[in-house]
């Protein structure tokens, strides 16, 4: 084992051509005769050649690696982050790029280091907050970047996200169609609103706007993530708002507690109270009853983020804002 790696010059010798010819066969940047191409590719296969990434990066000034930057704080539901991460990796591979994982611990220095050392060609930042400390740096970095989520000032940046305002509205509209007249939003823990996390606020705004538009009665509440607190909020809600019959839950960790609390308080879903959640499909499906939900299209968000980054790497101009339209799946809870 441990045989020294095969180099391009060995491939060239084996195929009886010049090193540059092998390079051109592999990159396709110049025309090569079918015959030569075949001989070279055969040699590549026979010798098990893999181009040396460092050498390639040095000569071409392209590492073919992008950075994926994890959020500063985990405010978002973790499984969703994981979905983003895997879809970014998968999408990147389709463009023949790899993904370097950067965490918040290093803060902006980490981004600067990775970019300045040419370790990566571009950056994807996950779960960007309204006042994200990493954002100013991006503006001065030579490397292109794409954000998942929207900071307060997104001018000059490329951002992708689910249209959360529309998602919040969609839930309200669905409940309105079902004939409900008084609804409530159970959102993120209050700390998430306090620190200005964009998607939580935007959902709330969309909810409020739709409530106004449809002429329903509605309140938006924050929602902690342990059972007792959820149960207390539900009790209070049922108590003070007898007409309430529709619930929008935008909190993956709390959604099962909400169902438990409703059960505890003797309310049946959907007969007494209808519930629509904004959460991943797997959570909605394994709840009892399975929940009508708007899912966060993590897979598509990640794919779009990578696509946009690749466009930028090619030197193309891309739209600054990309909002993905939410889709509501009706299940048994409404």
């Amino acid at each position: 084992m441990s045989e020294r790696a095969v180099t391009i010059s060995e491939v060239a010798r084996h195929a009886g051509v010049a090193v540059s010819t092998v390079s051109y066969v592999l990159s396709g940047k110049r025309a090569i005769s079918a015959d030569t191409r075949r001989r070279v590719l055969d040699s590549v296969r026979v010798l098990g050649y893999h181009p040396n990434a460092g050498a390639r990066a040095l000569a071409s000034k392209r590492a073919n690696v992008i950075a994926l930057v994890l959020p500063l704080r985990v405010g978002m539901h973790v499984p969703v982050l994981m979905q983003f991460a895997t879809s970014v990796v998968t999408a990147a591979r389709q463009y023949d790029h790899d993904v370097l994982l950067l965490t918040a611990d290093e803060g902006s220095d980490g981004l600067r280091r990775a970019a300045a050392s040419a370790l990566v060609d571009g950056l994807v930042l996950m779960d960007v907050e309204l006042h994200d400390s990493r954002v100013p740096l991006l503006r001065e970095l030579a490397e292109p970047s794409v954000l998942i989520g929207f900071p307060a000032d997104s001018a000059g940046l490329t951002c992708v996200d689910l249209d959360f305002a529309r998602a919040g509205a969609l839930c309200v509209e669905h409940l309105a169609e079902r004939g409900h007249t008084e609804v409530a939003l159970l959102g993120a823990p209050s700390v998430v609103y306090d620190r200005g996390t964009g998607f939580a606020r935007r959902t709330r705004e969309g909810f409020a706007a739709a409530v106004a538009d449809t002429g329903l009665k509605g309140v938006a509440l924050s929602c902690e993530e342990n059972f007792d607190q959820v149960s207390a909020v539900i009790a209070e809600l049922l108590d003070t708002r007898p007409g309430l019959s529709g619930l929008v839950v935008h909190n993956e960790a709390a959604v099962n507690h909400v169902l438990g609390a409703l059960r505890q308080h003797g309310r049946r879903v959907p007969d007494d109270v209808a519930v629509v959640a904004i959460c991943p499909d797997d959570i909605a499906e394994r709840s009892s009853p399975p929940l009508t939900s708007v899912l966060i299209p993590a897979e598509e968000v990640g794919r779009q983020a990578v696509r946009l980054l690749m466009e930028k790497l090619e030197g193309h101009v891309v739209p600054e804002d990309t909002l993905l339209q939410p889709r509501l799946t009706v299940r048994d809870s409404t």
Copy 2:
């Protein structure tokens, strides 16, 4: 913006020394006078020099990057995976290494490609299964690797994991001490056992052994992850085993359903039924009541995995098996 990157020769010129001297200052591989060192470091700072990663990798044959390979299937609880991932990244940075994220989609080819192209110096594989298709490849790869989890045949490999057998036993012993005489294990979904996931089986074995040792009565059941099925299992259990008063739950996604089902069936925790979980602390803490639990020390597992890999990269010999001892935290559920 976008000013061309500073190179080592510019630093050398600025500091009035040879390129090689700058290199030696930065690597510390040869003695350099204090005066020269200071001048060089000043120039580095003033010019904002960052060594080019590709050039460094090419010349030194070390990329200073390790691969983190995500599991083939997500059988493990996702937040725990995320904890592994972040701790691996953090630990790697402490050794001045970065982390490349590889997913299962590419399978073994991805590993081979990353290794053969010298993109990475070594590999950390997460959530290894008993018969993991990636394992044979590792044996023939020149690059060192460390596994998180144990395959069926771990000979010649370096593996790290929580001692799940001990964790299962610890839970039983705790319940025995509390005076319970009949206990049950609610484990992973049956499909997880079927595909031979090591940690699930090992927990079950530890549970069974401890039940035998302590002379308790006990059964081990698999446990699906939606409320209705959990509720049915709990009903059946309470019905057929009236003496049952202790439950060990090794299933993060189901643990809240278990509590809900017990509530539904009129059992109080811990008065009627004591529950001890094997799960992350945050889940245990936000349950109602907060659960006595054995946590999966993801942070330490990741750190140890990286430490072992770095040792191997240095050419040192490391122990093949590293089993981390579980610790049980008593909360309100027992």
